[in-house]
């Protein structure tokens, strides 16, 4: 999977036609194979752009910063990224007519060690859903698979799970990198950042981390698209995907196979309801 040339051509064409102000893509770090997101503002810098299986970061995240706000933006999206973009469009955070989206029929990306990312192996929608232009050959429809880590953990006993997660919350340093790197966390002031916290818990303690991560994962329940930006950003390498994948599974199994952002105009699972929703856990 290498679309470097095509993306460079598209970007330079868009700049030449005056269709965009900024192009968000990837460039090489310059010393290893890994890549850095780059915001190109001039046609002469287009040659920096690359795209291959190390283009991991979800670029939709950049739509919330001042460099792209109220500007015409060109953007490269993979399957998972396009789902988050779809949600942003539905939630009226970005305007479709200001975007030029280059969609990728993604064959999966690799982590820093060169192994295929776990979420790519379980990916249901590898092809970009929102796109003005598609690159690559589209994939066949795939079936939703339950995450293996989740299965393993869920089959353990209550005390074992408690012990496992206590370690997770103890190692959280509350830097909030997970939230900042999440494309769907766009609130101007996050509720878990309240310092004068009689309501929320501002301190950098284990109980604070628990509160923050639980609140955060519940705000993303039914919206998370499993791009794993949060996990890549976490300096403690916490398995944050466990919380999201668990929620995703509960929602998929109980709420009419809901998956976040796969249809146009489809909002998160908590923004709608159905008469068929399970009721047996309520007395």
């Amino acid at each position: 999977m290498d679309y470097t040339k095509q993306i460079q051509e598209i970007a330079s064409k868009l700049f030449a036609e005056g269709k965009i102000d900024v192009f968000v893509g990837y460039r090489l770090t310059g010393f290893d194979e890994n890549q850095v997101p780059v915001l190109i503002r001039d046609q002469k810098d287009v040659s920096q752009l690359v795209f291959n299986d190390r283009s991991v970061f979800n670029l939709v995240n950049y739509l919330k910063y001042e460099h792209t706000r109220n500007k015409r933006v060109g953007l490269v999206v993979k399957g998972c990224d396009s789902r988050s973009l779809n949600l942003l469009l539905t939630e009226s955070q970005v305007k479709r007519d200001k975007l030029y989206v280059v969609g990728i029929a993604c064959e999966g990306v690799v982590d820093e060690q060169g192994n295929k990312m776990q979420n790519c192996m379980e990916c249901v929608f590898p092809d970009a859903i929102v796109a003005d232009e598609m690159l690559g050959t589209p994939h066949e429809v795939r079936k939703y698979k339950v995450n293996a880590d989740i299965d393993e953990l869920a089959s353990k006993g209550l005390v074992d799970r408690r012990v496992y997660f206590e370690e997770v919350f103890e190692n959280c340093i509350r830097c909030n990198a997970c939230r900042h790197s999440c494309p769907l966390c766009y609130c101007a002031k996050c509720c878990i950042d309240q310092e004068t916290a009689t309501l929320y818990n501002g301190a950098n303690t284990t109980s604070g981390a628990f509160h923050a991560l639980m609140t955060w994962s519940l705000h993303l329940a039914g919206r998370c698209v499993d791009c794993r930006n949060c996990e890549k950003a976490c300096p403690s390498h916490l398995p944050l995907h466990l919380l999201h994948k668990w929620n995703e599974r509960v929602i998929y199994e109980n709420f009419q196979e809901h998956l976040a952002g796969v249809h146009e105009g489809d909002r998160g699972a908590f923004y709608k309801y159905s008469m068929q929703d399970p009721d047996d856990f309520i007395m």
Binding site: F31, I173, C175, H180, A197, T205, S236, H237
Partner: protein, 350 residues
């Protein structure tokens, strides 16, 4: 101070570590979720003091805890009462194993700010009660640039005891401070070592090999000088464009020392905490009236870069950066402060 170099082998070093762990409260790098971090250890099997991979987070939390209680209070109809907390987990006597040079150096840098207009007693206590044992790296990592900064890595006296791997499996143990000297007398079994004055040569050779392995080199004097003149450089806008303001760099940085105050209150009683904060955070400078002097990314990045290489240098005579590269390793979008300052400095405004 007379420098004695003890020479032993791998097995002797293991014995030395075991003796330390048995006798003292010891903190050492422990692997957790695939990364190393300083943790309290009770046996050598749990930790890896000689790990070639640096800890993801620095040893800063052991001196400046990520969340420290400052006081407890009760506020009810009878009035407000404040009680100082006396419980501090980090003021007991302890030993830190496996700290890298850069981490050890960061303590010297932090000492300046903690001994400045306000003397932080807790920090002083933690420093005095800690023996730092450092192993010199054999090879630089991708983002390391400690040799390019304003301290002498070879003759650094930030650590109390220095361990250097020599040739043929030999290990050299040296005390670098008087505290370290006393510590070695107490904990190092002289039977397992030989005093070897010749090994000084070997130390030099090891250092030269180490210094030659660096990918990144810069001239910090030039950077200091150039950055001090380019407050208005438009280049900051470019270098900060792909930053996502995630704060990771400041939380893992060994020298960043900004904090926020937060209250945790249940009913009438509360605790006031001092927790880490980061200048990359959008509301770090947000004031009560709603004004935010650094509302956009490039201003925050400018603050971060200039604080590291200009403001701290002007005030204390040292760079606030120790070249450990932890920020670049942890950055989710692979931004390196080395690249940023070099790029900004190379586009000097005339």
């Amino acid at each position: 101070m007379n420098v004695e170099i003890f020479v032993t082998d791998k097995a002797g070093l293991q014995k030395f570590y075991e003796a330390i762990i048995a006798r003292n409260e010891t903190w050492a790098p422990v692997e957790k979720f695939g990364k190393f971090d300083f943790k309290r250890v009770s046996s050598l099997g749990e930790c890896d003091p000689d790990s070639p991979i640096a800890t993801t987070r620095s040893a800063k939390p052991l001196f400046f805890p990520r969340s420290a209680k400052i006081m407890k209070y009760t506020a009810d109809s009878t009035g407000t009462r404040v009680k100082e907390t006396d419980e501090d987990p980090f003021t007991a006597k302890r030993v830190i194993l496996g700290m890298k040079h850069c981490d050890a150096r960061s303590l010297q840098v932090l000492d300046k700010v903690y001994n400045w207009d306000y003397i932080d007693n807790d920090y002083q206590k933690r420093r005095q009660n800690t023996v730092v044992i450092s192993t010199r790296c054999d090879k630089a990592e991708t983002h390391c640039f400690c040799t390019s900064l304003d301290y002498d890595v070879e003759n650094l006296d930030a650590m109390d005891v220095l361990i250097v791997n020599g040739t043929e499996g030999k290990v050299h143990i040296t005390a670098r401070t008087e505290k370290g000297d006393a510590f070695l007398k107490e904990n190092l079994d002289p039977a397992s070592c030989i005093l070897h004055p010749v090994s000084d040569e070997e130390l030099k050779k090891q250092y030269q090999a180490f210094a030659a392995s660096f990918r990144l080199k810069m001239n910090y004097k030039e950077i200091n000088e150039k950055l001090s003149k380019i407050f208005d450089s438009p280049e900051f806008e470019d270098v900060s464009a792909n930053c996502i303001s995630c704060n990771t760099c400041a939380f893992v940085c060994p020298t960043c020392h900004c904090f926020k105050i937060s209250d945790e209150r249940v009913k009438d009683t509360g605790v006031r905490y001092k927790s880490y904060d980061s200048c990359n955070n959008g509301y770090f400078t947000l004031m009560a009236g709603g004004h935010n002097p650094r509302p956009v990314k490039y201003r925050r990045w400018r603050q971060r870069a200039l604080h590291k290489f200009v403001y701290y240098k002007e005030r204390f005579g040292e760079n606030l950066c120790v070249g450990c590269g932890k920020c670049a390793v942890s950055c989710p979008v692979n931004i390196s402060i080395f690249e940023v300052v070099n790029q900004v400095a190379s586009n000097e405004v005339v």
